[in-house]
């Protein structure tokens, strides 16, 4: 069966010749029509549409967007803030930056609809420090939108006003964690907050109720308002509605970003057909399906169990290639859809070195607030780096896993899982390579890396 065709909703105009990121072009393509329509409706209706749509957050956790909005404390009398998480920092993920660079008004329209629906008067776009160009484009786009009456004190003559501010981060992965982001936005070190009591929906930015949504999620909100929640829910698969942008990087013929209906494409179709398969003479060895913190999958392993389709429990017996790319199926096989960053490794990859690379990243990015992640991430980095640099011991694999086990589930934020899942899964799937590593390092010379 050939791979299904892409369905570009969010990336409809990305890379389209002649499509520019200015307001005029956006308006020519029907821009802000959804906002015009939205402000004539009741805010509760809009929230209902999003709830009906079944939209799940595209930032990583896949939390239902409508539920998130529902949790917001609307009785406190405090202002409600919207914070747009444009910190896109999970390695292997590069979707939000294309929206920001090439179609910023789509995001702004999504933001304004969300703000109107939730009675938000101030929205902040927290954009990562490494996106200076993106920040400039957003500033320009917001200025244009303000001039056009889409942002500002009196939106489209309705009397409803809302401002958007762009806040640039200073280059830290942890600023993608919503409470760390909020701290950073408040001008402090981005130390994630303890939950309870600091749930953003109640005690968020400046201790006010706050909605934190990913860039792609807000673009979906715009689409939902356009076609209606029920129509949107028909896209994709049940409980995994809509489309999703998959960012494929690594050892495939055609890496890049692809937008599919969620769950309609399998990992095998994506890699072999859409991305053209492995590089010449190579075979796939491993794939991380949802950004570098997701658990790795090893080609050749099989996943068996029962899953619910409609009202029936159906047996499944999948190889890695057979797994549908949706939140639930990837969770079922012990990994996650995460941020949609698919990282592919072929048989040229030294799996210990790959883990060392990931560990280095997480050790560098641990904020240092709580003990297990702060000390554990650097320890794992030190162990794996030492292994790669020739002093591997047979017991190092077991030690790595034990260290990772001491982190996950015991930290303030999800970084604990993010930094320990790679180690745990690499050891679970490739434990043999770790065990054999000291010997293999003695025997083999460093493999020559072909330069493309």
């Amino acid at each position: 069966m050939p791979a299904p065709a892409q369905r570009r909703i969010i990336f409809q105009h990305i890379d389209e010749p002649g499509y520019t990121n200015d307001l005029a072009c956006y308006l020519r393509h029907g821009g802000y029509a959804n906002l015009r329509q939205a402000v004539t409706r009741k805010p509760e209706e809009l929230i209902d549409e999003v709830k009906k749509s079944g939209l799940r957050g595209r930032g990583g956790a896949g939390f239902p967007c409508g539920v998130k909005w529902d949790l917001v404390d609307r009785k406190s009398g405090k202002p409600i803030y919207l914070v747009v998480n444009a910190d896109e920092s999970e390695p292997g993920t590069f979707k939000d930056r294309y929206i920001i660079h090439q179609d910023p008004h789509q995001l702004i329209e999504g933001i304004m609809i969300t703000c109107f629906a939730n009675n938000v008067k101030q929205a902040y776009i927290y954009i990562r420090g490494e996106f200076p160009e993106g920040a400039r484009i957003l500033e320009k786009a917001i200025a244009e939108a303000r001039a056009g009456g889409f942002v500002g004190p009196n939106i489209l003559g309705t009397g409803y006003g809302c401002e958007i501010y762009v806040h640039r981060g200073a280059g830290a992965y942890i600023c993608g964690e919503e409470t760390g982001l909020i701290e950073s936005l408040e001008g402090k070190r981005p130390y994630p907050r303890i939950k309870p009591p600091y749930f953003p929906a109640v005690l968020g930015l400046y201790q006010c109720p706050t909605i934190v949504n990913n860039v792609e999620t807000l673009c979906h909100v715009k689409k939902i308002v356009e076609i209606g929640g029920e129509a949107y829910a028909k896209i994709g698969t049940p409980n995994n509605t809509g489309t999703r942008i998959l960012c494929v990087s690594g050892h495939v013929q055609r890496p890049g970003y692809y937008e599919f209906e969620v769950g309609k494409v399998t990992l095998g179709e994506l890699l072999n057909e859409v991305c053209g398969g492995p590089l010449p003479g190579r075979r796939f060895k491993a794939v991380i399906p949802g950004g570098s913190s997701a658990k790795v999958l090893r080609f050749g392993e099989r996943f068996k169990g029962k899953r619910k389709i409609g009202n029936d429990l159906v047996d499944y017996d999948w190889g890695v290639e057979d797994v549908p790319m949706d939140f639930d199926c990837l969770a079922m096989i012990g990994s996650m859809g995460g941020s949609g960053g698919v990282i592919v490794m072929d048989d040229s990859v030294d799996i210990v070195a790959a883990l060392a690379n990931i560990n280095e990243f997480y050790a560098h990015e641990s904020c240092g607030q709580c003990t297990p992640c702060r000390e554990g991430s650097l320890w794992m980095k030190k162990i794996s780096a030492r292994m790669v640099h020739g002093e591997a011991r047979t017991e190092d694999g077991a030690l790595l896993k034990s260290v990772a086990d001491q982190i996950a589930g015991r930290t303030i934020c999800a970084f604990g899982e993010a930094c320990s899942w790679p180690t745990q899964s690499f050891l679970a799937k490739f434990g043999d390579e770790f065990k054999a590593y000291p010997e293999s390092r003695k025997a083999a010379a460093a493999p020559a890396v072909p330069l493309a």
Partner: protein, 561 residues
Amino acid sequence: MTSPAKTELVTVNIDGKEIAVPKGTNVIEAARLVGVDVPHYCYHPKLSVVGNCRMCLVEMGMPAVDPATKAPVMDPATGCQKINWIPRPQIGCATNASPGLHIRTQTPQIRDCREGVMEFLLINHPLDCPICDQAGECKLQEQSTGYGRGYSRFVEQKNVKPKRTQLGPRVTLDDERCILCSRCIRFSKEIAKDDVLGFIDRGSYSTLTCYPGRKLENNYSLNTVDICPVGALTSTDFRFKMRVWFLKQTNSLDTESSVGANTVVWSREGVIYRITPRRNDAVNDTWMADSGRLLYKAVRAESRLTAKDSLAALLARAETILRLSPGLAAVVGSGQSSVEEQFLTRQLAHALNAPAYLVSRTAEGDGILVSADRNPNVRGALVTGLVSDLPQPYLDDLGEAIDRGDVRTVVSVGEDLMAAGLSATQLAKISVIQLGTQVCASSVAASVVIPTLTVFEKAGTMINQQFRLQRFAKAVAGPVGAFDDLEVLARLIAAAGGPAEPSDLAGVWTRLAAEIPALRGLSYAAVPETGVVLDASPWASLPFVEGESLHHRPALVAASA
């Protein structure tokens, strides 16, 4: 006056033990009440909760209820309500008591969590306990013994960080020992209101430091040393001086102002090495000012007064002077004396039929733990009847009396008359019997100097700004040639022809309890460690100089509010 709101009690279950605690009490404190130790580093009862050390992880559960009917779900095995345990461990410091909360601290998972956190805290810690000042009072040592694995799996290089940063004039930082609990940062921000500390860099390379161009030099900086659970922050004064396990601890008071912060004096073989705060939730919480910690330096100061003569010889000379000009004496008492001494000072004034003065000592209060009244015990002088009004800024009245020739002899109980406002000319006109511990203009001019004891060398009580009667105990013996204040005063009374007064604490307290209405029924031994608040109504209209500070709202301020 409004009565404090009744706190709602909730019953929680910790390791199978049920206890009722005020709603909102956190698990660490609740566990303490049932004798269960929940180890922790970053949590401090007087600071905000950050939950960063992860040492206090516990298992938490709530009684199960049917989601639809809200009826309790019973466990057929036990016959009790089923408990839904949260699979992930929770931090005790941020988990507050709610009805039916169940906590387990002794499960394999929690043991593993604690071993894990201990191991993580130690891998980059220098383990230089043999040369570390914190050894003996180090939470890392204690909890590693109690909850650690006892062996190391770490074969990598440890992180390298600055070893001896002078954060300020009194605090030295060893960053390698720091476990990044942020207690000192929170203290500086929340209590001292001097937000100078912070972390730079990130991850395991995070480093505690001062804001560029600033110093940790506020008058509360040494509290950061007290609350540092490890040997990262050390007192520059105490560093490398003494092992803490050799030191004797004596409960005392900070006498630098009328706040009366509770303290512990640490001494060995008659030498004091440091003073630290003692917790009193009604007075100073767990804090004290740096200035109060240096008071012990007076004990062995160059200027310390001692006598070569015996007390009997000194008293004989004093008696001669007192007899020279009967009826023309004055007594200058001190707000730095203890209640007992002030009582005997009053008795001395009675015996001499002389007016009693008190020396005022005021300066700006800091709104925290140093009040505007720098005398620790002005209220003692009021309560004992030594004086009936607040002291004047200077002894002008006494000066005029001297100038008129109404006063020819002054007994100064520990006060420098010159500093208190008398001129050299006035001093020259009178005979001074000076009691005291330090050389001063007054002692130089005095006819008789009777050296006495510092607050660390005797016991007694003082009454702070809240009219709280508090005890201090004797930490070290006084030097040769200095005499106990009570004995000196009792014998001076006798020399002045007064009645026999007791010269020991218990004896004076028998007199106090009988004679002073506010102290009726009390005894020295009966005063609790946290003090006892006296009835202040007789003095309610006096314009006390203290402003608002930690746990103190002046009556006048409170009334006008």
